[in-house]
């Protein structure tokens, strides 16, 4: 077990290094750098920046240096825990991300809970009452959520929320609560706004989860030991829950590794459309203006989370399912 853990942790390091190279190269690919975007924006507003000032800034920020050098400067900074400096906001990256991180966590957690809570009973019901009208109806709803583009669903729900509940458009809370300390009123406001992004991001996740649970459970329900249990008079509920359901829970745990990046990236688009104060819009803006450190460091942070999440889900799966734990030994 410990050997396995150590092996996985060691493999993480080259994975993250390769990811960092990709992230850096792709962000730097478009011609120009942060300064050219800045100048274009200024010009679009009718302001100008003189050539001399540009050269001065270029030297200040080190854009003139070779790309490889810039990469290593960034990498060593990351390894020391210094996420770098955001040119756009003129603050250290940690300050820029910090405030938004909490709300991102709230949205993501809410979505994950929504996905599990909704897909679990529906998946079980669909498997147990296979081909019934209920089965068809519920999976139909799940598929609609999967098929409709997230941004469209978000806009529609936002409009309906405003029409029928008077919820203000955009944002995770009413305007007057931003930057205020947490209070009951603020919590209520957040909950009022939260259900739209959670449902939008959640529905596409639930569809997949429902089908997986349903398929696995169906597999189990037709096995010999279930038939034996029923024949021996075990009550239907117990026969379902004690063994087949535990088998079918595998995908739930295994998918944690998948769900995390899906939710964070899926939520980026919804956050931009709904103007939520999460990290999604911040990331988009940073990428558009080639704000290297903000975009790069944040993406590396996400990569780290994903890799760790996969590791945790693998470990959890091994803890849950003895076959996986012992399977490695048996194979030897």
């Amino acid at each position: 077990m410990l050997g396995y853990l150590a092996h996985r942790l060691l493999v993480m390091i080259p994975t993250l290094l390769v990811i960092s190279v990709f992230v850096f190269v792709i962000i730097q690919l478009p011609p120009g750098d942060y300064l050219t975007t800045l100048v274009t924006e200024l010009q679009a507003q009718g302001e100008t920046m003189s050539q001399e000032r540009l050269e001065y800034y270029r030297k200040e920020f080190g854009f003139g240096e070779p790309v490889v050098k810039q990469y290593f400067v960034w990498l060593f900074g990351l390894l020391q825990g210094n996420l770098g400096y955001s040119f756009e906001h003129e603050l250290p990256v940690a300050d820029v991300v910090g405030d938004r991180a909490l709300l991102t966590v709230i949205v993501s957690l809410g979505t994950i809970i929504f996905v599990y809570v909704v897909s679990f009973p529906i998946g079980v019901y669909s498997a147990v009452r296979q081909y019934s009208p209920g089965d068809y109806a519920l999976t139909f709803v799940g598929f609609i959520g999967l098929a409709t583009p997230n941004f469209l669903l978000a806009l529609v729900l936002m409009y309906l929320a405003n029409e029928y509940f008077g919820t203000s458009i955009g944002g995770l809370m009413d305007d007057q609560f931003k930057d205020q300390p947490m209070s009951w009123a603020k919590m209520v406001s957040i909950l009022e706004h939260l259900w739209v992004p959670v449902i939008v991001i959640g529905t596409s996740g639930t569809a997949g989860m429902i089908r997986r649970l349903r398929a696995n459970l169906l597999d189990e329900l037709h096995k010999q030991y279930v038939v034996t249990a029923r024949a021996k008079g075990v009550p239907a509920g117990k026969a379902l829950i004690k063994y087949p359901l535990r088998m079918a829970l595998n995908p739930f745990i295994a998918d944690i590794g998948n769900i995390l990046p899906e939710i964070i990236s899926g939520s980026a688009i919804v956050s931009i459309v709904l103007s939520l104060e999460t990290t999604g819009p911040m990331l988009l803006r940073a990428l558009q203006s080639q704000d290297m450190y903000l975009a790069g460091s944040f993406l590396m942070f996400l990569a780290l989370l994903t890799v760790l999440g996969t590791l945790i889900s693998d470990l959890a799966l091994a803890a849950l399912d003895p076959r996986i734990r012992l399977g490695a030994d048996l194979a030897k």
Partner: protein, 687 residues
């Protein structure tokens, strides 16, 4: 005199007479005495009165800094602070001679204090817009686009080259420190001439023919700038939406300057902020325009209270603001402005559902129907102001295109005229702008004193036959199979028009033009790109034609510089390389090689030397004529309407106005500090 020949009377009569005379004499004497006494008394009284007046005047004079011609009324917002003693009473806070705002234009009413204005922006950088909207400048444009002193008490211009500025006595920064000529001196000597803050020397706007001015500080409220040649751009530069700053809060900035601060303390500050050196720190903390430093004192009506990063910036009133209204109320009327940040695409939606009180930026004409529809339910009104650009959209054939064949064709004015004749502006106006825009070329608008209808109408009617005739005359033959014309080297005439940004408005308009150009044998492809990519391609000469907005200032007067008409900047999409050449003083780009464009450059130079208004007018007229004949840019529509959302109860926002960046500063010239809330609406805004 007793007549010796008169018969002698009786003694009694004699005595009587003598007595009478004596009495008279006595009375006269008494009268004289009395008069004398009276005179003496009145003199004394007069003296006393005079002395009294003198004394009174002395007393009044001594207490003059407390007494104003008008009794200044403070706002209830500061009542607690003044009562507690943490803030001085308003009579001490306002300058001795504040600017009295008359509010006598039609539709303006004198107002009352109180309330918040909520508005939306999309990016933290937009906090600078509050400097634009607040529009407190040394000199500013009034509603008739005349330059008037604002922060300055008076401006004296001699010969166009010597400018004497007088400040207001007792004027203070927003933290209470005095605003004097020391702030101007600090900027000029310690900032502009400091090699680390300005490595290439003081900024270009202080230069006239490569010479800097002579700066004399006459006393603590008077300063004079003198150049050898006239500097017609100096005052407009100070009055712009994004103004040139020639002053800085010296008392605050000195702590970041290596000449004044303790070296150890300064180094500690530099490290704490994570800056590279003291000049980076100084620059970062001292940006008056951007409102990104909560501690930086300003002269604007509202001051930022929320530090970055944030999604909601609160600006609260400047207690030391220099303007009052005719009743003595210290401006601004509104106590706070709250700037919320949101996504660009949601601004119209939030405006339509009542989430803001005043908005113009990020609203487009396409949003008009949505805004109008929701007016009654959410309690606001939608005004329509005119965008004062020379053209809302115009096509810019790139005269510096790299391909030699295309370059020859595009440089021929006849070709550009034919392209212009083949655009159905009426159709564009009706389809996209509900017929509410003005059709015509990229030139001045009817509100400008230099406007002539022939400038707008030149080559702007829709005449396919004439266009075809011109192209035939140029020898551009049509292909037999599809009627497309060919370039002189046999290639088909396929023009890619590039558009920057993500607005569908431009692509819609181009779609309409595609059809009519097909009729003159030219096939158009529309290529949407991101804004920087499009500009990069234009600057490199890879673009054939691009579409963008026209002249920034469509309401120019002869006193404003005609820089937009001559090739002076790289951002001018019709001649980027000539513009770059001028901008970089010959280090990059290409020199002008077309006589008409060269004439424009020469005329611009002459304008800067011109001494009289009549000369300047003549130069403007000639330049407008050249532009009109040569169709350097093909204007489509102008005077497009800008929706402005104003909540019910917010007064003094003009029903009709011009939405222009410079001059105009969007809400600036209309005095956002004079907008005020009705009593009932006031309660709803308090959040």
């Amino acid at each position: 005199m007793i007549n010796q020949y008169a018969p002698a009377r009786s003694n009694r009569a004699q005595t009587n007479r003598a007595q009478t005379i004596r009495a008279q004499t006595n009375r006269a004497q008494t009268n004289r005495a009395q008069t004398a006494a009276a005179q003496r008394r009145s003199t004394l009284l007069a003296a006393a009165a005079g002395l009294g007046l003198l004394a009174g005047a002395l007393v009044w004079g001594l207490t003059a800094n407390r007494a104003h011609a008008l009794d200044i009324v403070d706002t209830p917002f500061f009542a607690d602070a003044v009562a507690a003693g943490t803030l001085a009473p308003v009579a001490d806070r306002a300058p001795r001679e504040p600017l009295v705002v008359k509010l006598d234009r039609p539709g303006q009413k004198v107002g009352q204090h109180g309330g918040d204005i909520r508005t939306l922006m999309t990016d933290a950088k937009d906090t600078r817009q509050m400097t634009v909207y607040g529009y407190a400048r040394l000199v500013k444009y009034d509603r008739d686009f005349e330059l008037v002193p604002d922060i300055l008490k008076s401006v004296d211009v001699e010969d166009g080259r010597s400018f004497t500025f007088t400040l207001r006595r007792g004027h203070r920064w927003s933290d209470g420190a005095p605003f004097t000529t020391e702030d101007f001196r600090y900027w000029w000597e310690d900032m502009a001439h400091n090699e680390e803050l300005y490595p290439v020397g003081p900024p270009a706007f202080m230069k006239v023919r490569d010479a800097y001015p002579q700066v004399e500080i006459l006393d603590e409220v008077t300063i004079r700038y003198t150049w050898d040649f006239p500097n017609p751009d100096f005052l407009p530069g100070l009055a712009g939406a994004s103004p040139n700053y020639i002053y800085a809060p010296a008392h605050y900035m000195k702590q970041f300057h290596v000449k004044y601060a303790d070296p150890a303390e300064l180094q500690a500050l530099v490290e704490k902020e994570g800056q590279r050196n003291w000049s980076a720190l100084h620059t970062r903390r001292g940006r008056l325009y951007r409102n990104d430093n909560v501690e930086l004192p300003v002269l604007q009506p509202w001051k930022v209270e929320t530090p970055s990063p944030s999604d909601r910036f609160v600006f609260s009133r400047n207690p030391y603001y220099h303007k009052v209204d005719v009743n003595g109320l210290q401006l601004p009327y509104v106590d706070r402005v709250i700037v919320n940040l949101t996504e660009k695409k949601l601004v119209a939606g939030k405006a339509a559902t009542g989430d803001l009180d005043l908005q113009g930026r990020y609203l487009r004409f396409d949003d008009f129907t949505l805004l109008k529809q929701n007016e009654k339910n959410h309690g606001y009104k939608t005004l329509l102001w005119r965008i004062a650009k020379g053209a809302h959209l115009a096509l810019f054939p790139n005269l510096n295109n790299k391909d030699p064949v295309w370059r020859e064709v595009l440089r021929d004015a006849e070709f550009r005229r034919a392209l212009s004749l083949a655009v159905n502006r009426y159709e564009i106006n009706r389809v996209v702008y509900f017929g509410l825009a003005l059709e015509g070329q990229n030139t001045l608008l009817p509100g400008s004193p230099l406007y002539k209808p022939e400038y707008r109408e030149a080559w702007s009617d829709f005449n396919i036959r004439k266009a075809n005739a011109i192209l035939d005359r140029l020898g551009l033959k049509r292909r037999r199979m599809d009627g497309l014309r060919m370039l002189p080297n046999g290639e088909p005439m396929e023009i890619i028009v590039e558009t920057g940004g993500t607005s569908t408005e431009e692509t819609d308009v181009l779609q309409l033009i595609t059809d009519s150009w097909r009729e003159i044998g030219i096939k158009m492809f529309i290529k949407p790109l991101s804004l920087d990519n499009m500009r990069r391609r234009v600057f490199a000469g890879e673009t054939l034609i691009s579409i963008s907005s026209g002249w920034e200032n469509g309401l120019a007067t002869a006193a404003m510089s005609p820089t937009e008409q001559a090739p002076i900047s790289q951002v001018q999409l019709q001649w980027p390389m000539w513009g770059q050449y001028h901008e970089t003083n010959g280090k990059a780009g290409e020199p002008v090689d077309m006589p008409e464009a060269q004439e424009l450059l020469d005329l611009l130079d002459t304008w800067y030397r011109a001494k009289t208004d009549a000369e300047k007018r003549q130069i403007w007229t000639r330049m407008l004529e050249i532009q009109s004949e040569n169709v350097f840019s093909i204007g489509l529509v102008a005077g497009v309407l800008q929706p402005i959302v104003v909540r019910d109860g917010l007064n003094n926002v003009p029903e009709e106005g011009l939405w222009n960046w410079d001059p105009g500063a969007h809400f600036g010239i209309y005095g956002m500090d004079t907008f005020w809330w009705d009593r009932d609406a006031l309660k709803l805004t308090q959040q």
